[in-house]
């Protein structure tokens, strides 16, 4: 069965970049522009992995992870947050919210795929 990855980022270019890389690797990708949109999608659709940016309007990535973890179907779904190299406190917050791990930006396609392969 195809693996569906929910890619959440308010930046269209980052979203497309992630989506492009993952699609070429054979994953099914669903894009969302912020936490609210992602949460809404995830509530009514099955997702195998969540990849989210932290800083987004309306709902940030950490809140999204926290909200998702409270939903039964998402108890054991890997969730990765995209942080910047300086985002130590964000990593902590992400962790406490239930994030599986993080990807440090800027990242390249190989790194993205390697990291995703690790958690799936």
């Amino acid at each position: 069965m195809a693996v569906t990855i929910l890619a959440v980022d308010d930046s269209a270019s980052m979203r497309q970049m992630v989506s492009f890389t993952l699609k070429h690797a054979g994953y099914t990708v669903v894009e969302a522009t912020d936490g609210v949109e992602a949460l809404e999608y995830a509530r009514s659709n099955a997702v195998n992995l969540v990849l989210t940016d932290v800083n987004m309007p309306r709902m940030d990535g950490i809140t999204l992870v926290r909200e998702l973890r409270q939903l039964d179907p998402y108890k054991f779904v890997p969730m990765l947050v995209l942080t910047t190299e300086a985002g130590q406190d964000k990593k902590m917050q992400g962790k406490q919210a239930g994030a599986t791990g993080w990807l440090v930006k800027p990242f390249n396609p190989e790194k993205l795929l390697a990291t995703i392969a690790k958690v799936l």
Binding site: S11, A12, P57, K75, M79, L82, K95, P106, N108
Partner: protein, 702 residues
Amino acid sequence: MTLDLEMEEIIKVFFEESFEGLDAMESGLLTLDATADRETINTIFRAAHSIKGGAGTFGFMEIAEFTHSVETLLDEMRNGQRAVSADAVQVLLQSVDVIREMTQSAQAKQPIVTVGADALSGELARILAQKGPIAAAPAAAGTAAAPPPVVAAGTAPPKPVPQAPINVALDSISGWRIEFVPDPTLFKTCNDPLRIFAELAGLGRLEVTAHVEQLPLLQALDPSHCYLSWSLVLHAAVEHSRIIEVFDWVETVSKISYEPVYVGPKPGESSAAGAGAVPVAPARPAPLAESAAAPVVTPAKAGSDAGSIRVATEKVDALINLVGELVITQSMLGRFAEKYDPEDLESLRRGLIQLARNTRELQESVMQIRMLPIGFSFNRFPRLVHDLSRKLGKKVELKLCGENTELDKTVLEKIGDPLVHLVRNALDHGMELPEKRLAAGKSETGTLELNAFHEGGSIIIEVKDDGAGLNKARILGKARERGLIEPDAQLTDDQIYNLIFVAGFSTADQVSDLSGRGVGMDVVRRNINDLGGTVQIFSSEGVGSTIRIRLPLTLAILEGQVLRVGKEIYVASLVSIIETVQPTREHLSSVAGRSELFKHRDSYLPIIRLHDLFDIEPDSRDISKGLLVVVESDGRRVSVLVDELLAQQQVVIKSLETNFKHVPGLAGATIHGDGTVALILDIPGLISNFLERQSGRIELAA
């Protein structure tokens, strides 16, 4: 190949959104002044953050680096670690400019020049260093807290874990002993110890010992709880940081200790295992450089979107819909080509009516595509007004109205510079200094209003200030001094105001670097006239001035009045025509021998004989047998003698310059339904030329 192309597309999106982000930053920063609203700062921060992230990802390291310091500053403001100061806002605004420039060169595939960035980096560093203790304390606390406070306790091994990698000589160790006691919540973040072990095993041979002592009885077992802990021995002489990296994600919720296994207990295995090690994660810099190189090398069209229009999808849909209807009409009419029966006349007529309707709607729809909201042009003013008023020490509030008013793209592009000039003038000359305003009983902060709206078939753009207004006495004095008017000339207010449009006129006592060089207002008027528009000034001393620009909706189509002189057909723009009268002899007089005047209401208007101007034979040279068309441009009126008024109709303007050459007095040509060509009169040009020649004649006479 396709991969590169797709990347290219994505990078295009990155540029687009970066420019949007920069605009958002700019307008956000401009409202940031006094009361810093948290959401505004957040929006600005997010924009900077996205630009930095994208720039790093797509390999524009110069942009990423510079934006990083901008982001840091914004982050401190956002977290309340730093107050929003005018100083910082100014530097941030300049940073926006620098990032925009860098992004533009990146977009144009040119090397990114960092001169501006380098200069501003110092400024940013200076601001970041200011109020050091306040800003630095929480930041330092943040970093200190960030590395997990992994203190060995309980079942944890004796040695406390230092967060920094242990430095050991690789040839002195054979591997690592790791004690891994995860937090019971480990599974809840979906971290699988197996994954970690597999990764470690990729570095070398791994021995795993599980500690199951904490496992409860089955009925008490919570499957989402992690009861296990592990002792690991990795037989690989690798850097400590390699191993830390593997545990990166679980570090914060686990107790982990690392201990090097020195050569001695288990010699011999180390070098072999170490050599066979597989890198866990590729080192960051190298692959990044690769991904950066790919998009830059790929040739592509220049990034600048000169000449292209972004069209709303609805507009395109409407167009497609109309073309669909046109195709239906065409097929309906097509039948008649095959077989025509005189009885079909009625349906042929209906078909033609439908065709006419389709054509008209299609025309309107296509024109709509060229229409853009004037907001595109207004957008630059908040920044301009902010910078200028700061420079001039004036307090000005900018109000924008009617930003959604649409006008032709060409008009929109060409009206930008004149508007900038008018706004600068209003701020520089019109607006008073705060203390002067207070002394005059006005509010300290002046208001500058940019207003756009439709009126009739035209667009009106107003630049309105509540400043000092035009000083008539000073304008008159200056005009006399420059010899622009006769010393004893009696002028109406409008005529006085219009003097500021005369080339070489400037009333500013001191020439500032903003305006006041006396070039400009004449250029402003010329530019607007070139667009088929007019300028009018309303002013009241002490109360303020309004400059009103009237522009045609589009340059491609003209609401025209068709005129006849002899056998020639001309078209005049309907908006420039005030009225048309049949003159009687008592309304006509002549001055100085040849100048003919027509008494129109209370004023005397010069008469332009079109047949003389274009050297054609009229029906009659007797003015009282023809018609006088009263036309106006920039507040100046003349009457034009023609033989007959024909229809009023929309005409499509064909350029004379591109198809023939520029002819004074003519704005272009149009083609009538019967295929004949009619020339379009350039009323503003006609008036200027005529009045100039007349004044020349007067001078000669004097």
